[in-house]
């Protein structure tokens, strides 16, 4: 692993060290500099236990990287021996029982010192708001707030530097006016094309969560008779060939194994999994129940998809889908339910548009197929069968594996 040389001033002392770029400042301080007063709780910016001063201002040491602090000043809880405000806070913290186990205390003190200096007129409510980024599992916060407020008040009394809140003048009433609708920003140039064809009949809805997991229901129509669509949906490998990132490694009429690689903003995942297939020709309904794991993020997903085809008249077929999925592991922590839902919805809409276009017969809902269904290089021109399958392969992978 390539190491990089850095210089830093920690608590007034110049140091030099070799670090791996991925080492965060919290680990560097604790493991390399033996400054174990900086605590690590969540390591993703939420709890505040690791709060230190970088270049004089409170910062999370867990999401700052030591290499990026090259040439900068860092001050940890060990570096406040001589600090007047910190001395007042230490006394107040013990007097008001502002700590129990002490795990949160270094971060609390560093944030509190910033509040005392930056918000000299703060009242208890304001202190609470300002301290909301530091979590404590023991005290219930009251002692902490009391301690900080007491320091603010005693400093105010001592310095008599009280700043009266500025009285806000009453505003003139808002006049009624005729707004110009749809004002685009004057300076804007061409907006980039967004690949989001809206599917003609896609009406996403989600109903009550009966089981754990998120449920999405969707439906759209295809310009082909039910039997053709039904057959097309059975052809897994061809479906897979139409989806970027999807691969089927094994398949039988009742099961599939495969992988889907996907990108969601800055996140990448490659889920490997398998699913059981069921089809009922009599009712034109089927299900796919699967599970998969992304070994990179160590996230697990499970998904059940049920679909039902019905005759929509005039040689058209209505496809109704219900997807229920759950996601566990780090990826779940990051992707709030709604985001995944939106992603799935967009894919369904893209597919519906594309399916119609590829089946060729009628006029498609949207000319431009979305990027989500662009065929990978080397794929043969799709027959109607393939296209219908796109839908399926996509659902299988995304739902089963991804989430």
């Amino acid at each position: 692993m390539s190491m990089q040389a850095i210089n830093m001033t920690i608590n007034g002392e110049k140091i030099q060290a070799l670090v791996e770029p991925r080492t965060h400042l919290g680990d560097f301080l604790r493991d390399n500099q033996r400054l174990t007063g900086t605590h690590l709780g969540c390591e993703h910016g939420v709890c505040g236990a690791c709060t230190v001063l970088i270049e004089g201002v409170p910062s999370r040491a867990c999401i700052a990287y030591a290499v990026a602090c090259d040439g900068q000043q860092v001050r940890t809880i060990e570096g406040f021996e001589e600090d007047e405000v910190m001395a007042q806070l230490r006394t107040a913290f013990s007097r008001f029982h502002a700590l129990q186990c002490g795990f949160c205390t270094p971060g609390m003190l560093i944030s509190a010192r910033d509040v005392v200096l930056r918000c000299p007129t703060a009242d208890a409510h304001e202190v609470r708001v300002q301290m909301s980024g530091n979590l404590c599992r023991c005290t219930g916060y009251q002692g902490i707030i009391n301690a900080i407020v007491s320091v603010i008040e005693s400093r105010r009394a001592a310095n008599a530097d009280r700043v009266e809140p500025v009285a806000t003048a009453a505003r003139a009433p808002l006049p009624s006016f005729q707004a110009v609708a749809n004002q685009a920003s004057a300076a804007a140039s061409v907006a980039p094309a967004t690949a989001s064809p809206t599917a003609a009949a896609a009406t996403p809805s989600d109903t009550a969560n009966k089981k754990p997991g998120t449920r999405i229901e969707d439906a759209f129509e295809v310009d082909h008779p039910i039997d053709v669509v039904w057959e097309a949906f059975a052809d897994m490998p061809k479906v897979a060939a139409c989806l970027p990132g999807a691969e089927i490694t094994e398949h039988t009429p009742t099961s599939i194994k495969g992988k889907i690689s996907t990108k969601f903003g800055p996140m990448r995942a490659a889920f490997v999994g398998s699913a059981a297939l069921e089809r009922n020709a009599a009712t034109h309904a089927g299900s796919i129940r699967g599970a998969g794991t992304d070994s990179l993020s160590n996230s697990r997903a499970r998904g059940d998809i049920t679909y039902a085809l019905s005759d929509a008249g005039n040689g058209r077929t209505r496809v109704a889908v219900a997807i229920e999925y759950s996601l566990q592991g780090p990826l779940a922590q990051f992707s709030r339910g709604g985001l995944v839902k939106e992603f799935v919805k967009k894919m369904v809409a893209d597919f519906a548009a594309n399916l119609n276009a590829r089946l060729g017969a009628g006029s498609s809902a949207s000319g431009a197929p979305g990027e989500a269904v662009a065929a990978p290089a080397g794929a043969a021109p799709m027959s109607p069968m393939d296209a219908a399958g796109v839908f399926w392969r996509w659902m299988v992978s995304t739902i089963k594996s991804w989430f």
Binding site: E20, R22, V57, R60, G133, A179, P192, G265, M267
Partner: protein, 273 residues
């Protein structure tokens, strides 16, 4: 909770950043404040080969008065905007102080927030509501995109992999313009469950109502905005708000719907009071 290995580079010129981005073929990530990227690196949800640190790049730190607008560098932190009230762009300071916590605001940047494009984040909602323009730099120069069309989806933007947000230009509002902003957060500083921004500027004939914390990009409620301009808070009723929200929200559960409705109502209330 430790990031996977990555290479680290800290270019000192904007031009060097964009050429490094181009050369990396999508394998490099910009590091603005690291306040969204850091957690994802630690959780190993993001595993870029290379990090290009722009956190101290001087060109991105500039706040400049352009006369009718403020140009805010992509690397300007939330805290910088919180501490400096820009005349004509007062809403920025107001929004900034409600983002996360001070320790996050000290490092998190406007450009990073817009590029990250979390649907519930504050700048992706505020910038289109203020009619801002995103200035994007790439190897072949600058291009400009209206904030309202910049964010295309959850975590999706108009940005190409080899581009950087150089700045945001925020037009100044008139002295008597009104701004209303409301977020429902489970806990102070957390991402909201519902959010709304309202700008009423009679002098410039501008009325905008935007809502955020949706499943995708923030959305504008244009007809409602025009109605509010004419009738003020009288334009707001349970019916008018739910009608305006209907096409945007689709079918969501009643409690969530209520939160969005109330966020709009309160933002309008703040703007019209």
């Amino acid at each position: 909770m430790k990031a996977a290995a990555f290479e680290y580079q800290k270019p000192t010129e904007l031009s060097a950043v964009v050429s490094a981005l181009r050369a990396s073929n999508g394998e490099a990530k910009l590091f603005g404040g690291g306040q969204s990227l850091g957690p994802m690196l630690n959780l190993r949800l993001a595993r870029p080969k290379k990090i290009l640190d722009v956190s101290t790049l001087p060109a991105l730190k500039v706040i400049e008065d352009l006369g009718t607008a403020w140009r805010i560098g992509g690397g300007v932190t939330h805290a910088m905007l919180e501490d400096r009230v820009l005349v004509g762009c007062e809403p920025l300071a107001q929004v900034a102080r409600g983002i996360a916590y001070r320790a996050i605001r000290n490092r998190g940047t406007v450009g990073g927030s817009l590029a990250h494009a979390d649907p519930a984040a504050d700048w992706p909602l505020t910038m289109p509501a203020l009619g801002a323009t995103i200035v994007i730099a790439g190897v072949s120069g600058e291009r400009r995109v209206a904030a309202e069309s910049f964010m295309t989806a959850a975590f999706g933007t108009a940005l190409a992999e080899d581009e950087i947000i150089a700045a945001v230009e925020v037009p100044k509002i008139s002295a008597d313009a009104r701004w209303g902003y409301w977020k429902f957060c489970r806990k102070t500083g957390e991402f909201p469950e519902a959010s709304a921004a309202v700008l009423l500027d009679p002098q410039r004939k501008v009325a905008r109502v935007w809502i955020g914390a949706l499943n995708g990009a923030p959305q504008s409620l244009n007809a409602l905005a025009v109605d509010i301009a004419q009738r003020g808070f009288l334009a707001i009723s349970d019916l008018s708000v739910s009608q305006a929200l209907e096409p945007v929200l689709g079918k969501i559960d009643a409690a969530q719907r209520r939160l969005h409705q109330t966020a709009v109502r309160r933002a309008v209330q703040l703007a019209t009071a």
